[in-house]
């Protein structure tokens, strides 16, 4: 199958403007600006069934339709803060197929009437930001950004903005705070960004991969897109596959592909041919799925993965083989969340601190069975009480790890 998002794998040099253009590039943006009303663009995206690819899976067109039309100016922000352990897809898209992402962002701006957009990149993407700046300049030069685009009364500018090493800035309101020059700490919601976003103005924030889906949807229509994937989850997804597989990497597959297909066909199976012990489908924020043959044949879409007691999230599939101890896994994930907790709300700040102390003790072999129950208790106390999803995410691997792999913890505290 030819790629819809990772098109650089089929079309060499598509990160060059001339090549992108020759392969249909900017036709969709031109079509939108010259032949469609802004709300018609939103309607097509809505009808396509596209859902946000950053992890939450919120319907994209519906989000765009929420923009407050009584308060101006409007902004669009691309979330390129990719920092979830196990996720590395947006980086490949921006490095190798940058114009499709930028075109999608431009179409979104037109749909919601924004004339300024920001791409918020994690600080570590320093070289990538410079590269995108150059691509944006090329688009300005070619007349795809700037004033009176396609001879119409529509102007647009795109700017990059670098974060500086904070996972929390992937949370959309923390990202906005950061972009405003403050510490990246989430806001209390509601109000949500479509009514109160950047500088208090209506703002649409979407993930890089989400925007990259938009040009082909506008070019080919909603029905074309809806026919790919499953009834619950339309279209394709870039799966970031990592862990103990032979061939880790990004794989673009239609929703509904199975774990087996991803791990064994694309990832070439497990190192040394070992059995799989657990799958984390959404990076470090995942619940742990106990793997059997039935799980491997489960189609991956948002609704079906939920029946396995986990969320698909950003589809960052980390594979654990039978040599991996789950107490070690959660010690790793908790070290991450303890470090990345922004400190604003008490359950997350304190909860992660104590979970870290407990997982460390258990993993070092100096813990007791009571420590394991206390750890589970702390995690469950946090659930539903944190200001944003980070606190919730931190508890996922802990709770499911202890509940679904009790043997590992018995061994850890006895050893």
């Amino acid at each position: 199958m030819t790629h819809i998002l990772l098109r650089h794998r089929d079309v060499p040099d598509i990160n060059k403007l001339s090549v992108y253009k020759k392969n249909g590039g900017f036709d969709a943006f031109k079509k939108a600006v010259t032949r469609m009303k802004p709300n018609e663009v939103t309607d097509v995206v809505k009808a396509s069934g596209l859902k946000g690819r950053g992890g939450a899976g919120f319907p994209t067109g519906m989000k765009w339709a929420f923009i407050d039309k009584n308060n101006w100016p409007h902004y669009v922000v691309a979330n390129a803060d990719e920092s979830e352990p196990g996720t590395f897809k947006d980086r490949e898209i921006m490095e190798s197929n940058p114009f499709q992402f930028l075109e999608g962002l431009a179409i979104a701006c037109y749909a919601v009437g924004a004339t300024v957009a920001y791409v918020y990149l994690r600080g570590e993407f320093w070289e990538l930001a410079a590269f995108l700046d150059q691509k944006i300049a090329e688009m300005e030069e070619a007349g795809y950004l700037g004033d009176n685009l396609f001879g119409k009364d529509y102007s647009l500018r795109i700017f990059t903005h670098l974060g500086a090493g904070a996972y929390i800035c992937g949370e959309e309101t923390a990202l906005l705070e950061s972009l405003e020059g403050k510490r990246g700490q989430p806001r209390v919601r509601p109000p949500f960004p479509p009514s109160f976003g950047l500088y208090g103005k209506p703002t649409i924030i979407n993930n890089v991969e989400t925007f990259t889906n938009v040009p082909p949807i506008i070019a080919n229509g909603a029905d074309w897109y809806k026919n790919i994937g499953t009834a619950d989850s339309a279209g394709v997804k870039v799966f970031s596959l990592s862990g103990r597989v032979r061939k880790p990497g990004n794989y673009e597959l239609p929703f509904g592909s199975t774990f087996r297909n991803l791990i064994y066909e694309h990832g070439m199976g497990i190192q040394e041919g070992r059995p799989i012990k657990a799958i984390m489908p959404a990076g470090a924020s995942s619940s742990l799925i106990v793997v059997d043959e039935k799980v491997l044949d489960t189609p991956m879409d948002y609704a079906t993965v939920r029946t396995l007691g986990a969320d698909l999230g950003s589809a960052s599939v980390i594979v654990l083989d039978d040599t991996v101890d789950i107490d070690w896994v959660i010690n790793k994930t908790i070290h991450f969340f303890k470090h990345e907790s922004c400190g604003k709300c008490t359950p997350c700040r304190e909860g992660n601190h104590w979970m870290r102390n407990l997982t460390e003790r258990i993993h070092q072999g100096t813990g007791s069975g009571e420590d394991v129950s206390l750890l589970l208790n702390v995690a469950k106390q946090m659930q539903g009480k944190c200001l944003c999803a980070l606190g919730e995410f931190a508890t996922m691997a802990v709770v499911t790890g202890i509940e679904r792999f009790p043997e590992d913890f018995k061994k850890a505290v006895k050893a």
């Binding site: 352990p85 570590e124 320093w126 500086a164 020059g181 403050k182």
Partner: protein
């Protein structure tokens, strides 16, 4: 020399990205500029940035303290930041870091005697499929080094010794 004198053009370009009434947004790019100048962000730079943006020095310091890529004290010329998060660790990142430190005769967080390299352990860098990997943060910005071995890293360190200012 003050940032404003030395980087007048860059500062103007940075400020132009944001609405004039929201120039506080420029604090992060200006901090990168200050860090490029001195290798870390000193009090003087924070004061100057506060002045440029009409915010307090405390505001600026709170940003420096919050984000891990800003440093308020000197370290090696290059910070070698190894990702040891779960996916990298599943591909040998912890062993890589141990061996590298052993070779350099330092512990994690310490700097080599010649002041060239500080080795640090950091959180996810979005390169899980290319581990072991690290980024170098130095005078020329941030660079990724992927599919690394200890031998290749030692070669890189040798090459960094020859880099002129």
């Amino acid at each position: 020399m003050s940032l404003e004198k030395k980087y007048a053009k860059e500062i103007k370009q940075i400020l132009a990205k944001y609405p004039p009434e929201h120039k506080r947004s420029a604090v992060m790019p200006l901090l990168y500029l200050a860090q490029r100048e001195a290798g870390y962000i000193n009090k003087e730079a924070m004061k100057e940035i506060a002045h440029l943006l009409d915010i307090t020095e405390t505001d600026v310091a709170s940003i420096v303290g919050f984000y891990t890529l800003y440093h308020d004290r000197k370290a090696g010329k290059y910070r070698m930041q190894v990702c040891t998060d779960l996916p990298c660790a599943l591909r040998g990142a912890d062993e890589f870091l141990d061996k590298l430190c052993g070779n350099l005769g330092i512990k994690v967080g310490e700097t080599t005697e010649d002041g060239l390299v500080t080795v640090e352990s950091v959180m996810c860098l979005a390169a899980c499929d290319r581990a072991p990997m690290f980024q170098t943060q130095g005078p020329d910005g941030i660079k990724y080094h992927e599919y690394m071995t200890v031998d290749r890293t030692m070669e890189l360190i040798e090459a960094l010794k020859g880099v002129k200012e």
